[in-house]
């Protein structure tokens, strides 16, 4: 690769033009990532529209100096900024323009110092900066580029490479910084957008314009799986209010003062600009009072007030195409935090809390079915007392409902795993029912009262064991019961034993039980998982 020592205004706008084209290809994917600050699914589109306005203005620059083009870009971005991410993007471009002022062309060192200014500027516009967003990404990029200047000072391509690598790493790390991203199993949408823009710029510098026509930017994936589905957020019914944005033109505007005044009126406030034009963005329940305040300061333009609750609904629609790409939704009845996580991580759309000690009502199940983003729903009752309830749901909904009559948690997991992504609903019911029958379940709990059953004399609170729902053994402790029951089973064809331990069982004890089983059956794969279920000390899957 030929090093590039400096570039002028023409290349600057071509570079960002290429980056905008690159962003366009994945703006829909970026929309689908959007969960913060409001899951309204428009980040990619907003950044794209902001960039388009930026590039349009770039070509209206009075001359081809880097300084004139950068200034025009910053102006275009401010005028056309859309949404939170767009406004932050405009701040980044403004920082760039400030450091490139008076420069005919710029070097790698200029770019490094400009990025640093961009980062500072981005933070300055936000009243309450949140880490794990595009702010963090621009900060990490600026820091990485500054550090790299010491080594490879001259080449713009190398500097941009450093920037892209830092952005990629930073975006991948966003779920670690921001809880809502981790729960949704996605990276930050705005950060991803910024990474895509930088990546597009790098590809331009490398002269890969031709290849870019045939390629698409990669969305950074996180290996954290969604533990909360977006549908569940909707169930809380938090009012999101109105996303209110406009451009304020006037004289001697004081952005700091405006920011201070508006801070109490809503969330996600951004006020950026200069003394003649400011862009204002706020999520508020009362857009009227914000507008009223602003009209007292000057004239307002490009006013946009959108109902975010509606946007959120559209976003949920969009989610249907995402994730596990199942066109069938699965509803499972599960209790225990750990078990709920297991089922969710394996693709269950809605969890209905319940089980042995708490049977959900038909209404609970119906609600879950209606909430699931599909017309075809499979229900996994996971308890024999819930199968009949589940069977009643079909007559109450327009959706097509099938029940795989799982009576234990391990049966539910086995059925869920066997789900075939390419098969139709009917074949899937067959496949899942067959898989459910291939697993054996041991459940161990404490007797609620003293009882005599055939040869078995059971004292109150003594550990007792069920095999597929039938009481088979009692013992002094859980390990003894489990061992008795395993010794009765034909384990020749068994490969995996999974031990889910309950809310009242210590992990150290569970590990002890597992290592005991492991030493007796060294050929088996033994897995210990915290199920957190009530009632059962242990639920053991044998498959």
């Amino acid at each position: 690769m030929k090093p590039i020592n400096s570039i002028g205004g023409q290349e600057l706008r071509e570079m960002f033009g290429a980056a905008t084209g690159w962003l366009e290809k994945s703006s829909a994917d970026i929309d689908a990532l959007n969960v913060f600050p409001v899951p309204d699914g428009d980040t990619g589109t907003n950044m794209l529209l902001t960039m388009r306005s930026t590039i349009e203005e770039a070509y209206r620059a009075p001359d081809r100096s880097a300084s004139a083009v950068a200034y025009a870009m910053a102006h275009g971005a401010l005028m056309g900024a859309r949404g939170n991410s767009g406004v932050i993007l405009s701040q980044i471009l403004r920082g760039l323009a400030q450091k490139l002022a008076d420069k005919e062309t710029f070097t790698a060192a200029d770019l490094a110092s400009a990025l640093k200014e961009s980062s500072a500027m981005a933070y300055r516009g936000i009243s309450n900066p949140v880490e794990g967003t595009m702010l963090t990404v621009i900060k990490d990029v600026a820091a990485a580029v500054e550090a790299a200047m010491a080594n490879n000072g001259k080449d713009l391509v190398a500097v941009m490479e450093t920037a892209v690598n830092a952005a990629t790493e930073s975006v991948a790390n966003t779920p670690n910084l921001l809880n809502v991203l981790r729960e949704a199993g996605v990276v930050d949408a705005g950060g991803q957008g910024l990474q895509t823009i930088l990546d597009g710029a790098l590809r331009y510098l490398r002269g890969e314009m031709e290849q870019m026509r045939f390629r698409k930017p990669q969305i950074i994936v996180t290996d954290m799986h969604a533990t909360k589905q977006p549908q569940m957020l909707a169930a809380d019914e938090i009012p999101y209010g109105y996303c209110t944005e406009f451009l304020l033109k006037g004289e001697k505007l004081e952005t700091d003062k405006i920011r201070k005044k508006l801070e109490k009126k809503g969330e996600s406030l951004i006020v950026v600009g200069d003394d003649s034009a400011a862009r204002i963005h706020i999520h508020t329940l009362d857009p009227g009072s914000v507008i009223e305040y602003a009209t007292g300061l000057g004239t307002i333009h490009q006013v946009s007030i959108r109902n975010m609750d509606e946007q959120h609904q559209d976003f949920l629609e969009m989610q249907k195409d995402k994730g596990l790409a199942m066109d069938t939704a699965i509803v499972a009845v599960v209790s225990g935090e750990g078990l709920s996580d297991v089922f969710t991580s394996l693709g269950v759309t809605v969890i209905v809390p319940g089980g042995q000690t708490m049977n959900p009502s038909t209404k609970d199940l119906l609600q879950a079915v209606e909430q699931a983003a599909s017309d075809k729903v499979i229900i996994l009752p996971n308890n024999k007392n819930i199968v009949a309830t589940a069977n009643q749901v079909q007559s109450l909904t327009e959706k097509k409902i099938e029940v795989v009559p799982t009576t234990t948690i391990p049966q539910g997991v086995a059925a869920l795993l066997a789900f075939d992504y390419e098969a139709n609903l009917e074949s899937n019911i067959q496949i899942m029912t067959r898989a459910m029958a291939a697993v054996k379940t041991i459940e161990i709990c404490r007797a609620v009262r003293s009882v005599k059953l055939g040869d078995l004399k059971i004292k109150k609170k003594q550990p007792i064991g069920f095999l597929d729902g039938t009481l088979l053994a009692a013992g002094a402790d859980c390990l003894e019961v489990l061992n008795k029951m395993l010794s009765e089973l034909e384990l020749g064809k068994v490969e995996v034993i999974t031990i889910y331990y309950g809310a009242d069982t210590k992990s150290a004890e569970a590990e002890q039980v597992a290592s005991n089983i492991r030493s007796q059956y060294p050929q088996l794969q033994i897995e210990v998982v915290r199920g957190g279920q009530p009632h059962y000390n242990y639920i053991v899957s044998i498959e």
Binding site: G185, Q211, F214, R215, Q218, V221, D223, M224, H225, G323, L324, A325, M326, G338, D341, V342, S345, L346, G347, V413, L417, A418, F419, D420, Y421, E422, E495, V496, T498, Q525, E527, V529, E543
Partner: protein
């Protein structure tokens, strides 16, 4: 003059087999740090998997350059005036683009070249290439061969048992199988290639259950033309599958292959793949 057949190393056709059949295989590159090796030519599968498992850094991969294809085209143009190129899925690699660019660099009238994006990978591509080569030997012309390939591709079904999706995800080729990541139980994913990218089929909990799934996969087809079984690091398990399959399907040919280093970068160790080419 017979039509010459060209493919890339992601067809998993070994150099020896290619030589025997007269197929030109253009290698991709596998890169460990600064060192780039031509897939299978400069790095054997054994050496590769050893480094993949034991080495400190994961390898990366690069498509062949247009120049690599141009060299091949120029050379073949001396002995034929028709070349058929069938490449790995364009969704997984830029190889198709390189081949197209090389085709456009050839001079007018120098040689007729047809480039097909197979939207397949591994032996689901390899079996089609072998089929085309056999037809080329019997005198089929370029148009007939291209038609044959286009008709056969949808009948080529790939199913892959992965021990882990780590390598596929790190390499950015996870496609629609992304939803299988992050499971809170240890699961073994089974994927296929659909519309040119990797897509989930189902999940199992042990290697033996994975082999059973592959074995049962053949029961979904009324008539089978041929099959291929390949592995990344577990030859014995793959041989065992071939043995089981040949008992129920004694007449159908089962090709045996090894996942190439460039593909192994994404498949990882312990992977086993089965391709079923359905009869027309």
């Amino acid at each position: 003059m017979a039509v010459e057949i060209v493919t890339d190393s992601l067809s998993d056709i070994t150099p020896e087999f290619a030589k025997e059949l007269g197929i030109t295989v253009v290698p991709l590159y596998v890169r460990f740090g600064e060192e780039a090796y031509r897939d299978r030519v400069e790095m054997s599968t054994d050496e590769f998997y050893h480094r993949l498992i034991n080495g400190p850094n994961l390898p990366t991969t690069t498509q062949p350059s247009p120049g690599d294809f141009l060299d091949v085209f120029k050379k073949l143009a001396k002995k034929t005036d028709e070349i058929l190129v069938v490449t790995v899925s364009g969704m997984l690699s830029g190889t198709y683009q390189s081949a197209m660019q090389a085709k456009n660099m050839m001079e007018e009238g120098e040689c007729r070249i047809e480039v097909i994006d197979s939207r397949k990978v591994a032996m689901s591509l390899g079996l089609i290439v072998i089929k085309a080569t056999e037809a080329a030997r019997t005198g089929a012309n370029l148009d007939e061969l291209a038609d044959l390939v286009r008709r056969a591709l949808p009948r080529s079904n790939l199913v892959v048992y992965f021990d882990t999706l780590k390598y596929l995800a790190k390499g950015g080729r996870i496609g629609k199988a992304q939803g299988l990541l992050g499971a809170m139980l240890s699961i073994k994913p089974i994927l296929t290639i659909k519309d040119g990218e990797m897509a989930p089929l189902t999940r199992v909990r042990s290697p033996a259950a994975g082999l059973d799934y592959l074995y049962n996969f053949v029961s979904g087809f009324a008539k089978i033309e041929s099959m291929a079984v390949e592995h990344s690091t577990v030859p014995d398990e793959a041989d065992g599958l071939v043995e089981r399959l040949s008992k129920i399907l004694p007449k159908e040919r089962i090709y045996r292959a090894v996942v190439s280093p460039v593909l192994g970068t994404y498949a990882g160790p312990y992977a086993i793949a089965l391709t079923v080419l359905e009869a027309e």
